[in-house]
């Protein structure tokens, strides 16, 4: 039984929770962080790409200590056909810089390290403990939590909910609704281990250079979804995800899609001979700006995936989690410094800081994209990739057909599939939602 009272209780030791706990503890606040896993990271799943800028704002010299895999020098966007891919590939030696911008990481290892940093700042971190309930006073202000360990309520001035996309506490306390099937994607992922030299040779990498492949197209069978391949030091993370609502309405299994992706002729040679050591699944918030719930109230804040803070278009999530956690910590510290109450009115500062940051600005920019891609998934994820593949084949295959006839045939195939109105409509809608 924990008798003492805390300035803040942080629920969860993922990116958002560790950022919040570190920010507050390093400013002298008395912080309790509760994690249900055996160790921080044991329940956390991500691709995973880490964005240095957002970590630096919390731990400036993290590169010296953190378990990083590879810094990214190359990005491949692949539009997948049945047996083909049409790629946009970008590689830049300037990414081999003294302080690289993006890294691949292995979440359970990174989170463990991050948690040690949090503890070094003086936060009390307890694992293997599930928070079962938020405790409120007669006026509805959150004043503490109960856990599945013996003992009663643990009290704090404020509770920071960093419980992840599948967070139960906030929904049970009616602070927000559970995610809707059309607002979350289910991703499955495997860790494929390969000797470092093999991996370097296959992906054209030297030293700690890394590459990311993001793939969309027929692999999701018309559903809103994507596949990915991320290179770690001695392993490759391979995954595939689609909206839960699409899975419910179609006939495919997540594992079946992943297996098909792994066996695609463009992917298979990259994984040849690998040893698989883990199979994971996780939900990804995909609803964007329009599905962000209330972010604060009397005695509580919510950060990261639990608040749907994920940029599905740019595949950014951990950086939004890190930033929202940090800003929650800063807001609480400011309020505490003024000796003010952790009331809804005062905690609105967190929302203001978020609104002024890239987090809300980016999510607002793409506010119409999730609905557009969902409503037109058959076109954007199936019809167009097939047409592009056919067009590329037509362009490259030399068979005596005059070029003008080839071009006419390609244009005709697009018009036949989508009609001129459809083509311009799709382009217009996409451009407008992107803006």
């Amino acid at each position: 039984m924990i008798e003492e009272r805390f300035d803040a209780i942080v629920i969860g030791a993922g990116m958002a929770g560790n950022a919040a706990a570190h920010t507050m503890a390093s400013r002298g606040l008395k912080v309790l962080q509760i994690e249900r896993g055996e160790y921080p990271g044991s329940k956390n799943v991500q691709g995973a790409i880490l964005y240095a800028d957002m970590v630096e704002k919390i731990i400036p010299n993290f590169r010296e200590e953190a378990p990083l895999e590879r810094h990214l020098v190359e990005q491949r966007f692949w539009m997948m056909g049945e047996r083909s891919h049409t790629g946009l590939q970008y590689r830049n030696d300037d990414f081999n810089e003294e302080k690289p911008n993006r890294y691949t990481i292995i979440r359970s290892q990174f989170d463990r390290w991050f948690s040690r940093e949090v503890q070094a700042q003086g936060a009390l971190v307890i694992c293997e403990t599930t928070v079962t309930e938020l405790v409120s006073d007669a006026y509805g202000k959150v004043i503490g939590v109960r856990t599945d360990r013996a003992g009663g309520t643990i009290f704090a001035d404020v509770v920071v909910l960093c419980e992840g996309v599948n967070g139960l506490l906030g929904t049970r306390a009616r602070l927000r609704e559970a995610p809707k099937p059309e607002h979350v994607a289910l991703a499955v992922k495997e860790m494929h281990f390969l000797p470092r030299e093999t991996l370097d040779a296959r992906f054209n990498l030297h030293g700690d250079e890394g590459v990311v492949i993001e793939a969309a197209g027929v692999i999701s069978k018309g559903m809103t979804g994507m596949g990915f391949v991320y290179t770690n030091k001695e392993s490759v993370s391979v995954g595939m995800g689609c909206l839960v609502s699409d899975f419910a309405a179609n006939n495919d299994t997540p594992n079946g899609l992943l297996e098909a992706f792994k066996n695609h002729p463009s992917i298979k040679p990259l994984l040849e001979g690998s040893e698989v050591k883990e199979y994971a699944a996780h939900l990804i918030p995909e609803g964007g700006y329009k599905t962000i719930p209330e972010l604060f109230g009397d005695g509580w804040l919510v950060c990261g995936d639990a608040a749907q803070l994920n940029n599905a278009i740019h595949r950014e999530g951990s950086n939004l989690a890190l930033t929202s956690g940090r800003l929650a910590g800063e807001a609480i510290f400011q309020i505490k410094s003024r000796k003010d109450a952790m009331s809804k009115q005062n905690l609105a500062l967190y929302k203001k800081l978020l609104d002024d940051s890239f987090v809300m600005k980016d999510l607002k920019k793409y506010k119409d994209m999730p609905a557009l891609l969902h409503a037109n998934s058959q076109n954007y994820f199936l019809a167009y990739p097939q047409l592009v593949s056919k067009a590329m084949e037509n362009f490259l295959r030399v068979d005596g057909t005059p070029k003008l006839d080839k071009e006419k045939a390609t244009i005709a195939s697009f018009v036949k599939e989508r009609s001129w109105t459809g083509l311009f409509g799709d382009a217009w809608r996409l451009a407008r939602a992107w803006r």
Binding site: T130, T147, V188, V276, K277, L283
Partner: protein, 96 residues
């Protein structure tokens, strides 16, 4: 053509601490499953849901990856109840 690897075989790679006798997901007794509950026999990435010979859906959550997909699809309707496993139990990701 290569054969797809079955989910059951994949789960052997994972580390679990099963809370024996305390499943964290429960299905409401039913005669005929709802469309979403039946869909879980296909969608659950860990293959925890299965249809019995008499047409009901049952769950063995030992291999659960705690993704929450079934919660998103079946909790609001009351088809299932979803809790976290007790602290320290459930799937323990080595890499995550």
């Amino acid at each position: 053509m290569s054969l797809a690897v079955r989910v059951e075989e994949k789960l052997y790679q994972n580390r679990y601490l099963v809370d024996a006798g305390k499943p964290h997901i429960a299905i409401r007794p039913h005669e005929k499953p709802s469309a979403n509950l039946l869909a879980m026999t296909r969608i659950c990435p860990a293959g925890c849901y299965a249809e019995t010979s008499s047409g009901q859906v049952e769950i063995t959550p030992d291999g659960c990856l705690e993704c929450g997909t079934c919660r998103v699809l079946c909790e609001a309707s009351g088809d299932i109840t979803w809790d976290y496993p007790r602290g320290g139990f459930g799937v323990l990701f080595k890499f995550g």
